[in-house]
Subunit: 296 residues, 6 copies
């Protein structure tokens, strides 16, 4: 509609709603700056080979499968729930804060007599992922009624149904609601998926692969930091030996005799353990700096 | 009023309102931390050689010309609209997201019979930049009525006037309002301007020049990133030759034989193209990191 | 309640309310990611050796003293106000914006006849720090009534009391309220404090010391930046001599003959003075980059 | 959990979310003051014979049918969509602003070739009311794919599906999205529904009937006003005859001879037509006043 | 565009922005319910003989004059500032809170030597109403430069210009900014204005007149209340005589012998003076109730 | 400062903060329209015999006692906590929603062994009302440590102290925090208080008394409604006899023979019980309308 050109364009679906701001920020880190206008449903992106659509995470895989989108980012859970036939290009890193995947879990009130999935026979379960839950019950040869929950599922577990299947990361919201986890049904991470036909098209495939590389580089960088320090030359071998986390560091000589500079890229969550050890091992002037992208 | 000292002070006008937050952030990146209180119209700045005033972008050039301010930051458009006689110290970078200057464009409804500026003869035009528009019409020997628009100009184009002159960056707001661009009247970028007398004063001039250098360094850094990678020594010449974007890299030897480290500063928007090429050319461990300032 | 394990855990109190967001951000920079739920008073932290409690800054030292918390972060002012008997582990850096500690000052209306603390004899003073103020008056052998102020203390100085004791950083809020500072009573910086018994426990003490090292590294990094530049080899000695701020730089040779790369860590607020000097001294390609942690 | 008493209690489900504030306001007008706490899912109500649950409008009928709630307020649409077997106690008034019921309509892009439901054969339709839509298609002997829409349905009509079934009141949101209404599928008004067993219980039934009477009285009052005026006695008959809207007025004599006071209750939306006519017919001192409840 | 019907329609311009919510509320009280959508610039109104446009108050009179609107509501100030040739249908009541019209006043800093308009000779004045101010200066035979102020005018008076012309109701914002009023230039109240041609059209004229009657009735009602009380019959004459504010009350006999009921409509701001007097004069059971409309 | 007039003025302190909006609304209902500016600490009121100060509810009684304010509105609790020697002019109605006074209660965790105040011996209690709590303990001959709580008191009960004294209305926040009420310490309602000297001044006293009358009238009106209905004349005696809530109704004859109009003022919370009874007793056309003031 916007232009009548034969220039190839890749249609990318991004999750709208609660994940939108985080996703646009990650796209910007990957190098693609998107701005959303309240007056138009087509966001602007500073790459005219790309067309962005913001779509509920629950629906992305459906429209990728049907070919309305060439590719999209969504969770593994909704791909499975929708049973979408798509090509999975890549999986991305877990949440930086918890370093754990989101999990759909079967939960019941703390005092509930339900201890295992077997105890659900003949019960009622509320959830947003009806298909996932039904499949899980079938696998366990349990017959129970599964009903779609429009929201506030956690509250329902106390009076309206016998159990729920709900998404959790750290479990703290479930604990705050006095619920107990019975079993994990599915762990889910974000995926980049492609329509099967689009994946055959060499131009689109390369574009998608590059996007995946840049996005993975940006996400990787969120969980990594750069670390530099000065080390007395003679303490270096022992330090490197005892700290395998410092893999493949760059060692360079300093103008100050007897000292070397050691630089490496490292998992951010390891730093809090490593820095005290480095200090103890004789390192000085330890500097940690942020990264935008890390591509191995 | 605040102090009775002979210490020299530079009065700097910054744009109030929609650009305020972004401007204060950029000033902080340049090294000047400003905090605005709701109770006082004089913001605090951590430099007692500086006095900040927040003034509408439309009015900055007027008060710099009259000498109430020594210098200020405002758009080229409003300097021209006001016809202000000031010294232009420097022009800053375009928006990071779009890498395009803002443009004042003549726009009409998509279905309008108006195709060129000549078709405006005898028509009515609404705009915030009345003088700019009148000058544009005179240049084109067209007689039309130009009226000042107090806001929501885009909506007026459909019923209240025949055409509008409005600011746009990507054109997406115009498109969402079903408007068509007829012609661009003026492209505008932010400028640092100085009062002509203040520019004669050597202390003030040096202060302004340093401010310009630091601010440009900070803005430059928003559009640049640092890039480091490891490259097999023998692949280096070809890689550098085929990728001229990697201008003047710092090459340093690594402790691992046969490999060198290549480091450079590069336009952020080039990275998304370059990284796939670097990978293909044999680079490994590619790291992109953010910059605060870049001063050549 | 959460777990029945003999695993040791450190209970850390962080200030709730206006300082909360800033403190959680600094903890994240130190490597500890905390997320607060509206449904639970126990925040999640990605370190199971740590338990976080969010407590008003005014009360942290009290609960550390009593042993409900092993350690906590709070201001020097509230430790003194509460007269808490705790071990002070470390002091942190001043505000980045103003580089000044917060101060509790005695203030009066601009036109008030009160010129020194002696003029307070028989007067009434409103303040949030009643004990601090009483001690200050005793030290000055002045008898005056001190009453607890529940808020909006600055406004009271004009009609309801004769003087106030209030917290200020830049003094701009006092100036906006037409108040004059008579004297500074206490300058206060954030402190990490420990319960005296917890400090005897070797596991807890090491955990607290590491936390202090990481937090100080993160705070230090907020006020520092990395600086790199290229310098003609022959200009280097003079440049280093004339710019002592560039202490202990890393000098490395460049592939381009006759040039060296100089890199150092430096106070952020010095940069705005230094960069113009470096340019004048022949430095080129000056790059400033942000840091996450600096641990000497 | 709250109390162990044999006192009878009626469990009432009210719609949570976008309709919540309006519903609680109407309940207050009916005489039941409810306050919702962010910490508890059980709202407070100043009637200990009542227990309130806030539940998504889409789910109320399901939980009333199952007996978890004795009665509830929800839309006719969701009762039908869920196919819930409940007793319908009463229907409430339409929106005050538009005096029209909400309608689920089949809509397509303005330029779409689809003109009637028959043109949907083999097409795809997105909607929140999947069952309603499937039933509508069956009635029209049309085969089409119906998929559940998680939101932003209007935007989908342009690219992702061929038609949508969406809720509208005035149609202005559809028009703003350049959509055309093909057919109305269901008009829906709010209903008070009861569980069939609860309706057998005489105490609960009376409680529900009284609630219905008060709620209807409150809603009725939103669309009515009181009107008083003074009329010359001799003009009265003609005035009453020509203005049948003034049904059953209360006529009372005034101390001023020859004048009577006329008072009545009238539809608010008629007033704007009636007042000019009353003035023309000789009425004076016309007063309109608001009502809290109207129970015939 | 919306419909192709010969049905007559009246185009009404209402002020957009800060007065919008208040105006829509008053229109609703007059009987016209308007709802504004963020997606469309044409608001919905429940009267298909009316079309609403929301336009900045500063511009309403211009578009009424040109005939793009049949009528509109705006301030007397902007009609004069624009010099618009329109028919003024009616003036509305002052603000309920202050019972004073808004006034454009000439103001200077408290300490300024400017005491009268004559002292402005050769000075600079900032204002939003440039034409009004120039006319005022000409009337006073004073030559001064008048410049358009884009906002925050009050702050400018202290440094950027010598005087301002600014809108005020109670003067408290000027006082808070340490400004002194020199003279009032124009008092302004809201007006309903009509295009001169539209006023010739009998259908439109009647529609506008009815709108004026209803709107005035609604505004009148905001400043009035109903008052009822019981009075001993023998105290009535003295009470009515001594309290002329009780004009034309309705007197009715009560079933309780010796008492009459007195009812009247009265200015709301008089009530706080009157009720103590009525109590003292023997009235009992005094009831004040709100009104929606008062049409004499 | 504002004016140099000998006109008498009454200084009234109103509670700032969470109760402010509600209090200003009630003052407006009483007939005094107050507007608060963010730039000035002196609110505007449309009565130049009144000067308003907004002061934290905790401090109002202190400043009334000292004479900085002539009178003020605050809670009974804070008058007692401060031990202020003031004249109490009047008590106002309870909350409309709950019809219960706010209560300061002693509360402990649900599982706590503390059953009565006696069990507090040697324990620690956190509260905002330290004096009230100490007095309560003395009365009960219990020795315990009472510490001032700066907020979030409910959370402290679980770990930091043994018991709390906290304000509650319905108890639902305590229940949500799993706390159990041990005893009520003080029930508190809003009071109008006067400085003892101001109460001697006849002008001030009359002004305060009138203010009390109007404010009580406005508050009374919040909890009352007007009720009108038509009743068959022969059913009237029985209806009045069986419904004593209908005290002192006004009975007037209707033009329709055999029917009378009955009108009365009644507690709002009784209506929901009364209307079904009235209907059953033969009343028709029952109208409930809102009141602004009720002064007996």
């Amino acid at each position: 509609m916007k232009k009548k050109t034969s220039k190839p364009v890749l249609r990318l679906g991004l999750p709208k709603g609660s994940l939108q701001a985080a996703t646009l920020e990650k796209m910007a880190k990957a190098g693609f700056h998107i701005s959303v206008s309240s007056r138009s449903y087509i966001p602007y992106v500073d790459d005219d080979e790309l067309e962005i659509r913001l779509i509920r995470a629950q629906e992305v895989s459906r429209y990728v499968e049907h070919g309305y989108l060439d590719c999209g980012i969504t969770g593994h859970d909704w791909i499975v729930e929708n049973g979408s036939d798509v090509h999975e290009v890549g999986e991305f890193l877990f949440s930086k804060a918890t370093r754990q995947p989101a999990r759909w879990v079967l939960a019941v009130p703390e005092q509930s007599p339900i201890k295992t999935v077997k105890d659900l026979e003949g019960k009622r379960i509320a959830t947003e992922v009806v298909q996932l839950t039904r499949r899980f019950l079938r696998r366990n040869r349990v017959k129970a009624e599964v009903e779609f929950s429009w929201g506030a599922t956690e509250v329902k577990a106390h009076e309206l149904v016998d159990a729920i299947v709900e998404l959790t990361e750290t479990g703290s919201s479930l604990r705050a609601n006095k619920l107990r986890i019975v079993e994990t049904i599915l762990a889910s991470t974000p995926r980049l998926i492609s329509n099967r036909l689009a994946w055959q098209d060499s131009w689109k495939r390369r574009k998608i692969e590059n996007l995946a590389m840049l996005l993975r580089g940006a996400l990787e960088a969120e969980a990594k930091v750069g670390l530099k320090m000065n080390v007395p030359e003679k303490k270096l071998p022992k330090l490197l030996q005892s700290l395998p986390a410092l893999r493949n560091p760059t060692i360079s000589t300093l103008s100050q005799a007897g000292w070397v500079a050691v630089e490496t890229i490292i998992d951010e969550h390891v730093v809090r353990v490593l820095i005290p050890q480095l200090k103890a091992a004789g390192a000085e002037g330890i500097i940690e700096y942020p990264l935008n992208k890390v591509v191995y």
